[in-house]
Structures are given as structure tokens and as C-alpha cells.
Symmetry: C2
Subunit: 408 residues, 2 copies
């Protein structure tokens, strides 16, 4: 491994890249007084790209955002939490279009300049009077300060306990380019973009095709490799906007500094994805599963996701129990090639299985390791060189408590 091609910006945020402002406020969609409406605004038309949930039932805002993205540019994205505007029929679709047009009117933009995102309860109509007055108050809340980014970060959260943001700079043609992101997650998180919203901003000069391609490939190795509970939501999207206000030749995969940009972009995605997994509903611990020695990367991904998605593995991690039998059972049921005789498993520094045979290990040391806040599970299949990393969290009493009465 060489040196990182990016520099982490401490306290960097979604408005750190040139050309972006943000803000958020409480308009009454959440029962608490937490922010529930937010906006990211670009001073110039931003090159934009998005990836969406694979769920066959898709919420109304996704339709609107797809429509706005047809020309490949955006000026802003308006987001509400507290209500997903999903399974709300024609009225829901109208409401999402209304959110878009109200926002456009407030900021003197055209409707197609605006993307819309929603997260929260499914199947209830948006209280549009509250959305309306909220949007009317947005212009006074928008700015380029850290507090503005913070207000936006808070506005997109649901059962999340902490905000998720990350920021790096990379050097392109000798000049600095900034990349930032903010996200929300928590429940219904599963590979293929489940209840999460993510927003990336950058001042890079980049083509739409290059941005879309990078967003897709970075998502596959980050947001699509996390799971909290195996459920995939109707509302997820990850949206990227590039203001083009940095000073360099347009970025494409052929640009000499493309790798640096792609690495920085992927790093921001990875930080956000891991933060979502760590903040999974009720989670006490982040679990990172690394699978090596698979027939191909795709097999390794499927096996890593099966392990990280196993309720039995997740419960054992909650109990700090080095129950590797559940790990190998998950390996075996992933439906990908496994040699039953050649599996190694380590839990952190502790090797527990070698060539599919149990190793004696120090239970006290294992307990001490498993009580930490990050747990590494490493599986080597010894077949070929396919590898993957997936992230998840433990299954706790609090997950059940939170989800037994989410609506009430």
C-alpha cells in the first residue's frame, strides 16, 4: 500500500467544497422539535449523479429526482425526515412535485434544478401545510458556515443517534479539490441502498458520465456492503453534486489525477457507510467482516454480506460470544463455492478455525476483544484470491425495542 492520495479534513462538511450552502429547520414533520427539513444549494449548476434503491416499491421523491436529473445537472436538493412519502399513491407523487416547485419558487430556480428526498414512516401523506411553511423559511436558514452544514445534517436523521459526515481534499493538476458527504441510515439498511440517504458535494470539474460511473463503483464497495437488518427501503438514494469551481482540467478516468480523486471520493463514501453501520438501530458495536481466498470478488462479497447479515452472528457479537460455529454456518449457506475442508476464521487477533478445524483459544482474551467497540471477523476460504469487506452491527435488545413500536 502506498500513501493515501487524499488528505482528511477534520470538521470538514458538506459546504466545505466551493460553491455549496446548506441549512435545515424544524417544520413539524417529526414529533420532537428536531430538524426535519433541509437543503443543499449550489451557487452554480452542479453536475449531478445518483443511485437509487433496488426495491420494486419506490417512494414518490425518487420519481421526482429522476425527472430532475434527466439533464445531468442540479442546483439543489430538498430533504425531509419524519415521513417517507412512500406508498402514498397519486397524492404522494403530487406532494413530491409540489415540494420541488415550492423550493424552486423560494430560490428563484426552475423545478428541474431541484432533487427531492424523503425518509421516515411509510404510508402516511405529508403534512403539506407544514412542508410549505418550512420551505418558505428555508432561505433565511441557508449558509456556508459549519452551523449550516450541522443544521442540514440534523434535518436528515431519523432514528440515527449521530450525524455522519466526512471530508477530504485531493490534488488535481496541482490544485486542491474538496470532496465532502453527509448521510443518514440506522434501520432498514441493507446492501443495495436501503433506508439511507447520502449527499456528496465536490468542487471538482467533472463530466456527468464520469461522476455517475464513480458514484456507482464507489457505492458497490461501500454503501452496498453494509447491512443493519437485511431490509431494503423504498426511499434510498445517494446523490452527488459537483460545482466545478475548483481549478483544473475536467476529470475523466483518463486524467492523470483521476485515481487520487476516485480514492478520495471512495474514502468519503466508506467513512459514511461505516458510520451508518456503527449507528445501526440499537447497535453497540461495528462489525467488519473481511473475506479472502474466494473464487472471485463477487463470491467474497456474497459471503461477507451473509455473515454480516446473520441474526445469529449479530446476536453472538452482542453477547461478546466467540461463537464461530455461526460464522462458518453463514459461510456455508451463502450459496457460493466453499471448500468445507479449508476455511480459516479469526475473530480479531484470535484464530479460532484453521482448515475448518477448531483451534483451542483463550476464552478470556476473546471476551476482552469482543467487548471492544469494533470487531473484525476474518475468513479465508483458501480457494483463490477473491476478497471483500462488509460492515454491520450487533443485534441488541434495543434494536427490537426501537422496531417494536416505531410508529407509536
Amino acid at each position: 500500500m502506498g500513501q493515501n492520495k487524499y488528505t482528511i479534513v477534520e470538521h470538514g462538511n458538506i459546504v466545505s467544497p466551493k460553491g455549496f450552502q446548506a441549512g435545515g429547520l424544524h417544520c413539524g414533520l417529526k414529533k420532537t422539535d428536531r430538524n426535519d427539513l433541509g437543503l443543499v444549494l449550489c451557487d452554480v449548476p452542479a453536475v449531478a449523479a445518483a443511485v437509487y434503491t433496488t426495491n420494486a416499491i419506490q417512494a414518490a421523491p425518487l420519481k421526482v429526482t429522476r425527472d430532475s436529473l434527466q439533464n445531468g445537472t442540479l442546483r439543489a436538493v430538498v430533504v425531509n425526515s419524519g415521513n417517507a412519502n412512500a406508498c402514498t399513491g397519486k397524492q404522494g407523487e403530487e406532494d413530491a412535485y409540489t415540494m420541488r416547485s415550492l423550493t424552486a419558487a423560494q430560490f428563484g430556480l426552475s423545478a428541474e434544478d431541484i432533487a427531492v428526498a424523503s425518509t421516515g414512516v411509510i404510508g402516511e401523506l405529508l403534512k403539506m401545510d407544514r412542508v410549505d411553511s418550512g420551505i418558505a423559511n428555508l432561505p433565511g436558514q441557508i449558509g456556508g458556515k459549519p452551523e449550516s452544514a450541522e443544521a442540514f445534517n440534523q434535518a436528515i436523521l431519523t432514528t440515527d443517534l449521530v450525524k455522519k459526515e466526512a471530508c477530504v481534499t485531493v490534488t488535481v493538476d496541482g490544485n486542491p479539490v474538496t470532496i465532502a458527504g453527509a448521510a443518514k441510515g440506522s434501520g432498514m439498511i441493507h446492501p443495495n441502498m436501503a433506508t439511507m440517504l447520502g449527499f456528496m458535494t465536490t468542487d471538482a470539474v467533472i463530466s456527468h458520465d464520469a461522476l455517475q460511473q464513480l458514484l456507482r463503483s464507489a457505492t458497490d464497495l461501500t454503501f452496498n456492503m453494509i447491512t443493519v437488518d437485511g431490509d431494503t427501503s423504498t426511499n434510498d438514494m445517494l446523490l452527488a453534486m459537483a460545482s466545478g469551481l475548483a481549478d483544473h482540467q475536467v476529470l475523466t478516468p483518463e486524467h492523470k489525477d483521476w485515481d487520487a480523486f476516485a480514492e478520495g471520493f471512495s474514502y468519503v463514501c466508506r467513512v459514511l457507510a461505516k458510520a451508518i453501520a456503527r449507528d445501526g438501530e440499537g447497535a453497540k458495536r461495528l462489525i467488519e467482516v473481511t473475506v479472502t481466498g474466494a473464487e472471485c470478488d463477487s463470491d467474497a462479497q456474497a459471503i461477507a454480506k451473509t455473515i454480516i447479515g446473520s441474526s445469529l452472528v449479530k446476536s453472538a457479537m452482542f453477547g461478546a460470544d466467540a461463537n464461530w460455529g455461526r460464522i462458518i454456518a453463514a459461510v456455508g449457506r451463502a450459496g457460493r463455492p466453499v471448500n468445507p475442508e479449508t476455511v480459516d476464521i479469526a475473530i480479531g487477533p484470535i484464530a479460532v478455525l484453521e482448515q475448518s478445524r477448531p483451534l483451542p483459544f483463550d476464552e478470556e482474551a476473546a471476551l476482552a476483544y469482543l467487548q471492544g467497540d469494533t470487531i473484525h471477523i476474518d475468513v479465508d476460504l483458501h480457494i483463490a484470491s477473491g476478497s471483500a469487506v462488509a460492515w454491520g452491527c450487533d443485534l441488541t435488545y434495543d434494536y427490537v425495542r426501537i422496531n417494536a413500536a416505531y410508529r407509536t
Copy 2:
């Protein structure tokens, strides 16, 4: 629907069919004093069939049972609980073969007459001295009384709270034929035979091929349609033995009474499967999901299993929360054709979604219904006529508690 072609036998059990004896005892594999070693014995060579877990990592006893079943007949099956004898390498395989030969010696049979099954913790070697003395004591415990069946039923349980058994009679060529079954389940239950053991006995005269085919098709609609936690174990098997001591022409699908026999057989499988789902680890409620109007039965099965497997749906049912948004989100992520505009959902007698639009419903009535011990979820996709039923249970604090420290 016509009349049932079978008659339920109250208190019928695994030794009700002619020719079978059973028994169980405690030999020291469980930490408590509950039975942990059991046997079903047939007085004559029984035509036998089996289906096994689809997990790529398979426990040693499955290899031994496959070997014994090569000639299509069995005299007995010996079962232990408390230790799965899985991931135990060459020694585990030797131990499983030793269980078989010790049992054969005690009962004056040949090794190939005996099937072996194990359930419990993965990755620990069997305490063979205890197995050895247990098997030596089995002959004195075997009999044809209800207490004998009860001792066997207890011997196969792990975290199960209740025994699972069922028995019916059907009429073939004017004479009675009895079909019975016993099973264990609880955790790691998932479509495709996850940590469950099932044993079927019958005095029918039937060919091996016909029995194998019936076992497979009945399993697909019963044991393979239940899930507790999405995990598939290394040890599952369902074994059927037919003594041939009833008085009728040999049963094949061409026999005029085949349908009656198949219906009775499937009924016993269904009762056991539902009992396993209801007794899922920590479960408070049985959930029955019926999907109709799918493009084909296979689509309906996949969608029903996705709903019943959703941690969010399961948590909501624990909380008696009519959160149908999670149900439709599960429908959408099953990866099968769905028309987003035409989905109906009912929770018991309460219609909550019609043509994908929320219906107003009485929350008090829904709460009262959801506090019952069986919850029906009905989904109509209005595409074509594919249908399926799946069974599962709610996700509770107790599931997490049980699985956070299973080994300790």
C-alpha cells in the same frame, strides 16, 4: 375445498404406526438433566427417505446417514442433542460412524441399518464416553408406549420450549394407515431445512422412490416455508421410515388412494413446521403469511419468505404494531415481479392497503388482533394466480437474549 382425506389422531405419536418403538435418556451431553439421546427403531426393515440441509458446510452425521440410506432402507435412527458434531473434522466423522456402529451392536443390527442425527453446539467434539454409555442403556428404554415416544421427543430438543408431534390415519384399499412425525427446531430455522430435525414414521407399504418424492414435495410446502431467523444450519435433516406393516397394495402416485396418503403426510409435515415456527427462539406469536395473485407459485413463495424473514416486520409484530409499510417494503425487495400500483395487504381481518393505497383502519382493533397468539398477513399482488403460505414468528428481546450467550 372437499373433506379432509385424513383423520387426526389426538395424542398420536411417532410409535403409533405399526412396527415402531422409540425411547430416550440423558447421557450427559446437555448441561441440564434433560434427555439428550434418543432412538426410533423399526421392527422390520423400513423403506426410508431423507432430505438434508442445503448448507455447503455439513455436519458429520449427515454423511453417515447418507451412507446408510444408500440401499433405501433403515432399521433405526439414533439422535443426540446438545452437540451438533459439526466442524469437527476427521475425529467428528469417526465419532458419527462410531455412534452408528455402537447402536448397531446394541440392537443386533448391521451398521448400514442405522441413521445418525445430531443437533446442538457447533465445533466441539462429542464426549464419546457419554455417548457410549448412553447407547448401552438405550435398549432398556425403548418401547411402543406413549411414554417411549415422549422420551424420544424430549431427547431431540435444544432451545425448544415444547415438543412437536402429530399423527393422522388415512384409508388405503379400505384399511387404516397411520402416519406420524416428531420434530425439533427453534433457532437457525430457515427455508431449506435449517436447524431442524424431523422424523416421520408410517406403516404404509410404499416404494422408496415414491416416499422420497413425497417427502421432497411435502417439505417444499411446509418445512421449507418456515423461518425463524434466516439462518440455515449445518445439521438439518428430515427422515421418513415406512414399516410396510399396514395391509394394502403398494403405494405409488398411481394408486387410487395416493392423494389421501399424500394429503395426510403433508398435513403432519405442516403441523410440525408450524409448531417449529411458533416455538422459534424467543417467539411470542406465530405469523402466517399468505401471498396470492403472484405471477407463479415460486414468486409467491419468495415474496412470502421475504416478508416472514424481515426483522422489521418481525419486530413490529412483537410490538403489535400494524406497520404495513414494512410489509410492502419486504414485498418490493423480494426480487420478484410486483406491480407497485396493485398491492392489497390485510392484517388478519383488517384491510390496511388496497391497490397500494393506505386504507383508514381502526388502530384499536388492529392492536387487539395483533396481541393474539397467531397473526395472519395476507398479500394479494393482483398479477396472476401464483400463491404460497409461509410461517414464522416475531422477533423479541428473548431471541436476542437466547442468542447472545448460547454457548455460555
